[in-house]
């Protein structure tokens, strides 16, 4: 295959990895943020944690794989973005560290103080990455200062502009909604009702933020830099988000979850369409943009990686899907059924 075809394929593959990550870890993060508020007693909190207990680690690997694939396929993208967003990524890592150990360590001591501390670490560790990823992605679309040697010349505060922050808030709100929907699907009894009620409240906030972000994107012209027209993806994303408001009220939990999930997928599809063929937009000079053509690996590496991906991605999808099927039952607050 030609180098250009391979570069396009890898752009799409990395987009798929990010979409998978936002879809899966999106509800994980949402659940983590809702934990201290929805769970009033220890049993309730344990039930909430148990809804994602068996899958959160596997979901997080989507992020690692997206990072690794970016390194292998577009080294300059990886180098510029990771060194450029240095402190933002440091805070993201702090969040993921706090979250990851908390799931395992929380249950190891019955002392309420101990557990409460870990609950808030799960909250912080879910909130930080949500805000930061949303902010980072909004900035990718907005453009960041990159000089002609592909080096980022800003700092953390460069990213904290109104558009970036709006992106962070919107992402956080959508993840909260996604998490609440997931909980209403996975929990039972009183908690299930409360999760659905929470979803109803968050929905309004998410819709307002989402519309603001769309308007901001349109007015600033951030949508007109790429080569691919996202078509009906953005408008469909908005429509399904609005429709979720109806299904949440009608207690159609499966539909609500699917609609918000679809919103997340379509938002990402829109994002990557608007970026293509750029991977990092320079706010200093469009000629200094990183594109899939000037940031990529050699044809040989991309060919090797394509073969590897072709063999192993289906296998991974199969067994990860299988675990969701395996643990599809609702979780109750009955102590005997809880693990964490």
């Amino acid at each position: 295959m030609s180098h250009q075809t391979l570069q396009t394929i890898w752009f799409i593959l990395i987009a798929i990895l990010w979409i998978g990550f936002f879809f899966l870890e999106g509800f994980d993060f949402g659940v983590g943020m809702l934990l201290p508020f929805l769970g009033k007693t220890d049993e309730e909190r344990r039930a909430i944690i148990n809804t994602i207990g068996s899958v959160w680690d596997g979901n997080e690997v989507w992020l690692l794989t997206a990072g690794g694939a970016t390194f292998a396929a577009f080294p300059h993208w990886y180098a510029t973005m990771f060194s450029g967003f240095y402190l933002a990524l440091f805070l993201l890592l702090v969040g993921l560290i706090l979250r990851g150990v908390s799931f395992e360590y929380r249950s190891k001591n019955p002392d309420p103080k101990w557990r409460n501390r870990f609950d808030w670490m799960i909250f912080t560790g879910s909130l930080l990455p949500s805000v930061l990823l949303g902010t980072a992605f909004a900035n990718l679309l907005r453009g960041v200062p990159i000089d002609q040697s592909m080096t980022y010349t800003g700092n953390l505060f460069t990213l904290l502009n109104p558009y970036g922050l709006l992106g962070g808030l919107t992402t956080t709100a959508v993840f909260l909604l996604h998490g609440a929907n997931f909980l209403s699907l996975k929990l039972d009894g009183k908690l299930r009702e409360e999760a659905r009620a929470a979803a109803g409240k968050i929905w309004g906030v998410a819709v307002v933020l989402y519309i603001l972000l769309a308007i901001f994107t349109y007015i600033s012209g951030y949508w007109a830099r790429g080569m691919v027209n996202p078509g009906i993806a953005p408008i469909t994303a908005l429509v399904v988000l609005l429709a979720a408001g109806y299904t949440i009220r009608q207690k159609m939990e499966g539909w609500s979850f699917a609609l918000v999930a679809l919103n997340i997928v379509l938002t990402q599809v829109t994002f990557f369409s608007l970026m293509f063929p750029n991977v990092m937009i320079s706010s200093l000079n469009p000629a200094w943009n990183l594109t899939i053509y000037n940031a990529s690996s050699s044809q040989y590496t991309l060919t090797v990686m394509s073969i590897v991906a072709l063999i192993f991605v289906p296998i991974v999808l199969a067994y990860q899907g299988w675990t969701y099927y395996m643990f599809r039952k609702r979780i109750s607050t009955d102590k005997k059924s809880l693990v964490y």
Partner: protein, 466 residues
């Protein structure tokens, strides 16, 4: 870029990597032990095996949690702190890293989730298979990252693109078949078994001294003594092979490890060398004739090039510069690692001999202190080994191709680095304390606590009454 950001980036990489590595070998080795114990229970229905799998499985998970979260930092910091490196090697180094995530991380995390949550929910066979797959996933992950690291020590299967100045892969199979990497893999996977064996022996001895859960810990101890002996010998043989390969592929590192200044044939082995404060000049030494030649090439007469000649050679080849690693570090870390390696073989072999000879080995005098204190040995050896192999590569980040000073991210400021360095140190320090506390609690509580899925279900120890 100034020298402060370089220095801080190096300290940060060293600290985060060494800390991460405190947990990895135990994950690598203990997973196999737990899988084997659970398999034996499945086959025999012997409750002792079930208790063993539960108890060691709990420690495995507590240890795993820290290993996994500190591992994420590893994957990110190549780009964050070493963007020059990432640009230069992405074509080659990125590939095994991406494959590691796709092949190993998914497997490890998904099936560990099934194992933790699956008992009683999935068929027993599936539950058993999941711990084997999780253990396999961890070890596969080690294999891929060592392939990546092996390439930094001994680059193969690449060309330097004249236009871009970047390394490009020409032969994937040369990269994954890199002999340097496979010696690393041999040394490291065996090291995982050795680490797990010493932990099992130490904790088992602690319980056996108190005459509690004798069936569980006696069997654990015997198993670990056998595996520990074999693994320690394999670690040593892997290390010896690595030394010989280093003599050919990284002669400067080899000479620096030995404080071998002048080229000679046969070459002496230094028992003790005292250098001056710069760590780069010898003041006084005791040497063993011809042994270094034997270490390098299995005969007592071959020539081993000295640091001074190599420095001159490298200057001629790569231009002016200092090509000598910090010798006080390479010299001493090697001696610490090697001495401990021998002690580990002796301890494990002695323990094995005693367990085979006497059924009441736990009453012997040496048993009161040796196995417990020996837990520290693999940790010290592992830290020394990694400091040695990474510091011995200096000033290169990719041997002979790219220097560390050209690899660091040019945009970072000392302030940003101080924030992250202090942040990681504080978080890792806290993690270490919490994790050690939990390890101690579960290790000393014995299998009863671990038998219950959560501490709430059965308050089996003092204080757990909710």
């Amino acid at each position: 870029m100034d020298s402060t950001t370089l220095l801080l980036s190096r300290w940060q990489f060293g600290l985060t990597t060494v800390f991460h590595w405190l947990f990895v070998p135990l994950t690598l080795g203990l997973g196999w032990f737990v899988a084997y114990m659970q398999t034996r229970y499945y086959q025999t229905r012997d409750e002792t095996y079930r208790k063993m799998a539960k108890f060691w499985g709990k420690l495995y998970l507590i240890n795993f949690a820290v290993g996994v979260v500190t591992g994420i930092v590893q994957e990110f910091q190549f780009g964050m702190n070493w963007s020059g490196y990432s640009r230069f090697v992405g074509d080659i180094f990125g590939a095994p890293l991406a494959i590691e995530a796709l092949l190993a991380f998914f497997m490890e995390s998904t099936f560990l989730g099934v194992w933790i949550f699956g008992e009683g929910r999935v068929p027993e066979k599936v539950h058993l298979a999941s711990i084997w797959l999780a253990a396999l996933g961890s070890n596969l992950s080690a294999i891929w990252i060592l392939i990546a690291n092996g390439w930094m020590q001994h680059p193969v299967g690449y060309v330097i693109n004249e236009v871009t100045g970047r390394a490009e892969m020409t032969d994937f199979f040369a990269v994954i078949g890199n002999p340097k990497a496979w010696i690393f893999i041999w040394h490291t996977l065996a090291d995982g078994f050795a680490m797990a064996s010493f932990i099992i022996m130490g904790i088992s001895a602690w319980h056996l001294l108190r005459k509690q859960y004798v069936d569980v810990y006696k069997r654990s101890f015997q198993m670990a003594a056998l595996v520990g002996t074999i693994a320690s010998v394999l670690v040593f043989l892997g290390g010896h092979t690595m030394g010989q390969y280093m003599y050919e592929s990284q002669p400067m590192k080899f000479a620096a490890i030995e404080a071998h200044w002048e080229t000679s044939a046969p070459a002496d082995f230094s028992i003790l060398t005292i250098g001056d404060l710069s760590g780069k000049r010898e003041v006084w030494s005791i040497r063993f004739p011809a042994v270094l030649s034997f270490l390098a090439c299995n005969n007592f007469s071959c020539e081993v090039k000295g640091v001074n000649e190599l420095q001159a050679e490298y200057e001629a080849k790569y231009g002016p510069g200092d090509y000598i690693p910090l010798m006080v570090v390479t010299y001493w870390t090697f001696r610490i690692m090697m001495t401990i390696g021998f002690i580990m073989i002796a301890v494990a072999a002695w323990a094995l001999y005693e367990t085979l000879r006497k059924p009441d080995f736990e009453n012997a005098k040496w048993f009161k202190w040796l196995p417990f204190w020996a837990i520290s040995l693999p940790y010290l050896a592992n830290i020394s080994g990694w400091v040695l192999t990474e510091m011995g590569r200096q000033p290169w980040i990719v041997y002979g191709l790219l220097k560390v000073q050209d690899a660091v991210s040019p945009n970072l400021t000392p302030l940003e680095l101080w924030i992250s360095l202090i942040g990681y140190t504080a978080i890792y320090g806290t993690l270490a304390v919490v994790m050690f506390g939990l390890m101690k609690k579960y290790a000393t509580a014995g299998p009863d606590l671990a038998m219950h899925e959560s501490v709430d279900v059965a308050p089996a120890f003092a204080g757990a009454d909710d």
